[in-house]
Amino acid sequence: MYSWHRLVIFITFFISAAPAMTADQRYGYGTVPTEIEIRAWDIDVRADGAGLPDGKGSSVQGEALYLQLCSACHGEFGEGIGRFPALIGGEDSLDKERPKKTVGSYWPYATTLWDYINRSMPFGNAQSLEPDQVYAIVAYILNMNDLISADTVLDRKSLPAIRMPNRDGFLSPDPRPDVHSKACMKNCRDNIEITSHTRNKP
């Protein structure tokens, strides 16, 4: 009995000790990046504006850039060409049968626009814009949406201060599971009506 007890204690010790790495049990693989390396890779801008660089731009300066770099896909007035996203319109449409989600109607933060353009636009030539150019293009898009005047200068202070129309339009945390179905087995329903059908092949 005594030895059995000892065995349990022995095993328990090793089971609990083996998989849990404590902070000082590091593997030590990899290298420590330099501050310069981190700054070069750290391109994100958060909703509250954290990460916005120095620089500035207005809609007046953004117009020529927008027409040159953006309008081929998004349209001269931000209306969107073909399946490329529209940047304007859709005000008061979100609770309607055909909601139109655009920068003006749907995006909760103007800073997200800066982050997205900076990291992925123009489509096919990403991360090629200077901060001043991004500020200017963001200003032009916001001006097209009548959210700022043409001469408003955007920078790391003024951009996060812009309140977007749909700022309070988002709900979290996730309330799911929100649909509570029951696994009925017999005589579960009476009227079975086909409301939609298709024989279309893609």
């Binding site: 982050d115 990403a126 649909v179």
Partner: protein
């Protein structure tokens, strides 16, 4: 659709065939002859009376290593990922669908896994790629692929499903095709390093609650991930189905968040930044948010809920005739393991419990089947999955009642196939 034919093709000994098979067989024979002439193998029949010897039984086949990396039979050439060009403006920012109608078992072949790119497939030289982990950490870290692979690794089978899977079928039945109703879904074995090991390596600061994951593709796609998920079952994977990731799946490394919507599983992973709040990136505000009838949208809806679908019969796999037929399908849940799948042949009036095929694994595709005596009459086929948490897959009406018709993402509704008397399947929706 594929039909396996008796291996008498080319033998010269013809048996009477059903009319519907005759056409296919003629097609197959002509294809065989054309293909055979290309590789110089005769398909002529045996001249010995009474013997049934197809060409491939008589002559030598190709030698070993004829193909250094093997590919499927040329008779399976129609098993392909497919896309819809109207869906998106450009294929570099679009989606392709897995041919689930041809998937046998729970593992999706790597080359058939659906793709979703926002800036095309990055062609990354692993020698010039590294992963940076920084922000609210005690010691930032830079890892090459070789260094990542030194850490203890695990291999797990998990499904991966796009948040938008089923979107084409949400407002109304749109295409008569399993590939396009459910094909933003795949299941693979993933090999990589638990993210918690890497986070232990850098040391998490107390205020860190979220992690920004960023891709090295031309979209530099980013999503904010709660740190609890990172410490739970998140992996940084570098291999899939026994080989290094394919470029279209994030080579040389990607995030894998079991059971969570596909877009959070950042491909071509280049950076993880720990922070005290989410970033509200475009892909967690402007898109991948679920719009409700009130005009408000749910944000950070990560889990892909419990779902199932009958894969045979389906529009691509009609029934050959009445009598005893096998109903086969797949079930999966982002909440955990599948516990039970029920099948109805009368539009959900009555249900029978199907047989689950092992292995039944956590957040993985699970096979189910049921044998059924079909009398040749029209029927409405459905499957309903229940997972280990007790969650029951809902009907489309139940989903729409809560979320309306414009939430689009996370459609895990029961699918109805109408079986017509000729054995063909039609995609329908019920009130």
């Amino acid at each position: 659709m594929k039909k396996r034919l008796p291996s008498t093709s080319g033998s010269g000994l013809e048996k009477p065939l059903k009319p519907d098979l005759k056409k296919r067989r003629l097609f197959l024979q002509s294809g065989l002859a054309a293909g055979a002439s290309l590789i110089g193998v005769s398909t002529e029949a045996s001249t010995v009376p009474g013997k049934l010897v197809p060409g491939w039984s008589r002559h030598l086949g190709a030698g070993v290593a004829s193909s250094g990396y093997g590919i499927p039979s040329r008779f399976e050439a129609d098993v392909q990922r497919r896309t819809l060009d109207w869906l998106h403006a450009r294929r570099e920012a679009s989606i392709s669908f897995t041919p689930l109608q041809s998937q046998q078992g729970i593992i999706t072949p790597t080359g058939l896994m659906f793709e979703r790119h926002h800036g095309g497939i990055a062609d990354i030289d692993p020698e010039r790629h590294y992963l940076l982990i920084h922000g609210l950490v005690k010691q930032p870290l830079k890892l090459t692929l070789t260094e990542l692979m030194r850490f203890p690794s695990v291999s797990h089978i998990h499904f991966l499903e796009c948040a938008a899977n089923g979107v084409l079928n949400y407002p109304a039945a749109q295409y008569n095709s399993l590939q396009f109703t459910h094909g933003m879904l795949s299941c693979c074995e993933w090999t990589g390093v638990p993210l918690r090991l890497i986070l232990n390596e850098v040391g998490i600061r107390k205020k860190a609650k979220w992690i920004l994951a960023e891709g090295a593709d031309a979209a530099a796609l980013t999503r904010s991930i709660p740190i609890d998920k990172a410490l739970d079952d998140a992996l940084i994977v570098y291999a899939q189905n026994g080989e290094m990731l394919r470029p279209e799946q994030g080579y040389p490394m990607r995030l894998l968040l079991p059971g969570w919507e596909g877009v959070t599983n950042i491909k071509w992973l280049r950076r993880l930044e720990l922070g005290d709040q989410p970033w509200d990136t475009r892909e967690e505000t402007a898109t991948y948010t679920d719009l409700l009838p009130t005009g408000k949208a749910r944000q950070f809806t990560f889990v892909m809920e419990t779902k199932s679908v009958i894969t045979s019969p389906c529009p691509e796999n009609p029934l050959p005739g009445k009598g005893r037929v096998a109903i086969n399908g797949l079930a999966w849940s982002g909440y955990g393991r599948i516990k039970r799948v029920d099948v109805s042949v009368d539009g959900g009036r009555n249900w029978q419990t199907a047989r689950l095929h092992g292995p039944v694994q956590n957040k993985s595709l699970t096979r189910f089947s049921m044998e059924w005596d079909w009398n040749g009459q029209t029927a409405l086929l459905q499957s309903r999955a229940i997972d280990e948490t007790g969650y029951v897959q809902p009907t489309l009406s139940e989903l729409r009642k809560i979320r309306g018709s414009r939430s689009l993402y996370h459609n895990n509704a029961i699918q109805t196939w109408r079986l017509n008397s000729n054995g063909e399947i039609e995609n329908v929706q019920l009130a």
